[in-house]
Symmetry: D2
Subunit: 337 residues, 4 copies
């Protein structure tokens, strides 16, 4: 950490800061130019709260040299994290596809979609039971019944299931019934929920908040990991920008950036990123090409009558042909699919 | 609601959509030009799920004529909402000032700040007990003990207290001890928490999410109101943009926009918007000038040693002089302060 | 075009608007519900200025059914535009690679880079002679001399050249010496310059402005085409968002969106989008996978001593290996490369 | 300037960087911790190109201690710049109001508006003759004739005139006929135009680009000043964000930030920021309260028939009442109006 002092800081204040840093166990290297005066801190700086330092009116700037995340940091964990769920593996050289409808609507719907995506080669079944909706008047999901229907679909196809948890009070039920617990974009900053799922040992699929920086995204993963659960899968699903032709702007660059700085697997959700079904296929291919570890795709047998997100869902036949294209690309990209 | 159909939509599909709309209780006015074909829906359109309609591949566009919020809508509630807390009033022609430290740190700290802001004319004491922090390694607040210290400060000064709730599990304690319950920006999309505080009758101070549109902000208020709690105070605290000189970009225009479309009181938090103490004063004045119903300001007796947000906190003396300026402006703005 | 009137618009005002629209040659279909009153306009609406209509205080909303661009619109020109420059073709099923340094620095530099990229299979040589720089104190390019050096490099390698034009006064020189004239992101809204290059017949490489929507980008192309020059190549180079790990956020979705709505070729500049050399390769592959018509890549033999943009330039050896990967992918994507 | 080196940088590379910096006339203070290695540069660092340094793969970060602008920097010019135009003064303790229609449409229109705003107390008349429009098919202004009509309006009212210049080729005419030359938001990055107006001695009203940071805005002013013209007035007119209820998001915080870092006068354009006439009044007051040096407001006698921007124009009567409110506020704000 480097502290840049304001020009003309009184000697007395300089001493105060020095003493404080030394009392926190850091050595100080002072460096003084015509236009600046700075301290380079040597030693363990983890006890220093950067915000508190910046509140000092004599501190002009504070420069972090290291990333603020530790457990999610590739620096301290150079190998890719590999997450195993039943017979499936996520991360490493694998390319994992999670597919299914936005919402679970009926036993017939979820089992028939599950069968079709299974045939096409999907690895996991997704389906929302508890739905975070912008309007309190929109369909909020089948709730507990939705989970039961997912379990039936799993029984019939063998596909492990992924579904979203919104409330700390439901954690136990999800641990029992769900294979991967999803934390949605709207709850990426819900730290109480993150801590809660940090205390269990189910894999967590964490979606990037719609205005979260890459660093904040990794800090949210850190919240989960710091409580003991290291099985975190990150999911890029688009960020909010001024461009509103698409529902969100898929931040494709985030994939290689995260893979460089973290060892966690990263997948892409082209359906939510685009919000338009005809963009799912090209974006899914781009995700494969850029080095993602997998995809989460909304598939619906009857999008026009879907209870949610029909506009961004593709039909099983299109999903099947997309899977075939991806399998061809996987060879060039050295991915197991 | 207006449905614009894609050019060349087959007659059969047109009939299907017509029948569906009629079955939902709407009459249809058809309008056809060379380049478009549209249905204007007459009657109660609240049973129509816009997302489902848009999923129909023959629907080009869907145009809402009415706002999606009802209880928060000024159209159905033309009078300003006035919220009473002990002897204080929020909304209507009042200008309410909530002040205090970011975090409650000790009895001495919170009571001394409370006394000073009381003298300067503040109406409420704020202070964080449960703190949402980007890093799991940062100070997370004094938790329950923080609430106890706030109660002591209230006892000594008479100032009712405002503090943030992060977890549905804590609602009961907050109902007992707190005068206004704050829902932070990071939880504006945490619908389970919104529903929870919708079922109580304490006033809720709802902060705008950092990437929430004005409409989504009002929909979050609607979540609370739809459960029965109509005492919602909205708080603009800056949105995230490409400009990062300031921590956030204060969306000053949001105040008159919200006041036009909603009857709820709207206050401004210049401290979080700017992230820099020397911007608090000019932004607070701008908030008064633009028509806000009040302010929430971070005040700390020793910002350089504050446990959080010291960089954006002003000292009691500066707060006092700001209050004097605001009182002068209040006369021109026809506000009671 | 659909006009939504404000509730309670006086009959007199309704008549005025009706008469005005009819005088402009449009028929009106009126549609009236409980909550709305609207006019659907039938006939040629191109004489109607939407801004003027919206200024009418009785007009609540105005809904455009058609895109505002005509010549760039695929609706009126379903076939892909194919642009020929010497022996090279851009658009259609071709995948075109433009490569070279950010700035032309010396004869030795530009010719040696040109030779290396030629060997690797690049189709065009790029190099800045006139450089738009944020600071007036930064290197502004070799100006006219830079153009001369590009011509020498072209002579030695046969690669046609692409370079940026900043001033209307230089158009004639560029027409004589340059094969494709680039309009940079900073000048995408410089309408006088767009009109100027609309009057010549050289192909124009138009970069997207850093905060331009896809529609505004196509309208900038329309400015050029409306003057008579239909040889426009669009270039997505990242947009400005809150995420600043990368210099810009590559809007990868813009490629399939533009290709659906326009017949013009679209290429991607991963170097400017990312601002970091190690992101160029994955982003270039993503561009191929998403369906782009080509790439523009910064290549420098000595990035650490480049006069500009060294941080985002790759070396010739890496460019060569990237080209090999792209050629493999091109087969799957049905692109000629 | 501070250079942070990557961990494990070879000694040879360290020496290379050291030697280069010393050859550019800087002394180096080295500082080495467990996790970092840095150089603090002492002496004149203006010869160092930061981009070039960052291109060195061994440089982890580069930290500027000083702002990159010099002539616009308050550090080197602590007094407010005061600009005189005929009898009017801009900057210092003055509050200057520029008003008029978006476009000059006819002699009758411009002179009648000029008379009304003059009566209400405006200091300058604005009116567009050359209009930058998103669509090539929209009204582009009366061009040269518009300038002539502005001159007539000036003759009749004595109000000096402000109008936008779009092309370097028109500079001479503008120098002869116009009192303050406006550079629009779309041309803030048009460096050739900035240099051109830097060589004349007319005051320049420079609008912030819609996605320009505050620093880039000041660098655009620096382009003008570096050529010799120090009479620059800055104008905040809103930035582009995800919020699109308003045309742009007025960055009200930018005013006090710019006034702290620069000595140039800063005014606010609430009309373009909001895009909605009913927001002009509250935003104008907020601009006064936050410390702006003036306003630029669109006033039209018949907004519903304005050729451009009618939606954001206010009528003369409303302008008059706004001026009265501002005059009252000016007393509290210590502004001469």
């Amino acid at each position: 950490m480097i502290i840049v002092l304001r020009q003309g800081t009184p000697e007395k204040e300089i001493e105060k800061i020095k003493n404080k840093m030394e009392s926190l166990g850091c050595q100080i290297h002072e460096s003084k130019g015509e236009n600046y005066h700075l301290f380079g801190l040597v030693g363990d700086t983890t006890n220093i709260d950067p915000e508190q330092l910046q509140a000092n009116r004599y501190v002009e700037k504070l420069i972090r040299v290291q990333e603020p995340y530790k457990m999610a940091n590739r620096l301290f964990h150079p190998e890719d994290t590999l997450i195993s769920v039943e017979n499936e593996k996520i991360g490493g050289g694998n390319f994992t596809v999670i597919a299914g409808p936005c919402s679970v609507e009926s036993e017939e719907q979820i089992t028939s979609i599950a069968k079709e995506i299974k045939l096409a080669g999907a690895n996991f079944l997704r389906g929302g039971a508890f739905k975070p909706r912008t309007s309190p008047y929109s369909f909020q999901g089948l709730l507990g019944e939705g989970i039961e229907l997912l379990k039936i679909a799993k029984e019939k196809t063998g596909l492990p299931i992924v579904t979203e948890l919104m409330s700390p009070g439901m954690v136990e039920k999800f641990v029992d019934d769900v294979d991967i617990i999803q934390i949605g974009a709207r709850n990426m900053h819900n730290y109480d929920l993150l801590k809660e799922v940090g205390r269990i040992d189910k894999p967590i699929l964490l979606k990037r908040g719609m205005a979260a920086t890459i660093e904040e995204f990794l800090m949210a993963a850190e919240y989960i990991m710091a409580e003991g659960n290291e099985n975190v899968i990150l999911c890029e699903r688009g960020i909010r920008t001024f461009e509103n032709f698409t529902r969100n702007t898929l931040d494709i660059s985030a994939i290689p950036v995260i893979k460089k700085y973290s060892h966690l697997p990263v997948i892409v959700d082209p359906s939510h990123a685009a919000g338009l079904w005809w963009l799912v296929e090209p974006l899914a291919k781009a995700a494969m090409a850029v080095g993602a570890d997998g995809l989460m795709i909304e598939v619906h047998n009857d999008p026009a009558n879907a209870k949610s997100d029909g506009q961004q869902s593709i039909k099983p036949a299109r999903f099947n042909s997309l899977m075939n294209s991806l399998k061809e690309m996987a060879i060039l990209q050295d991915k197991v699919m």
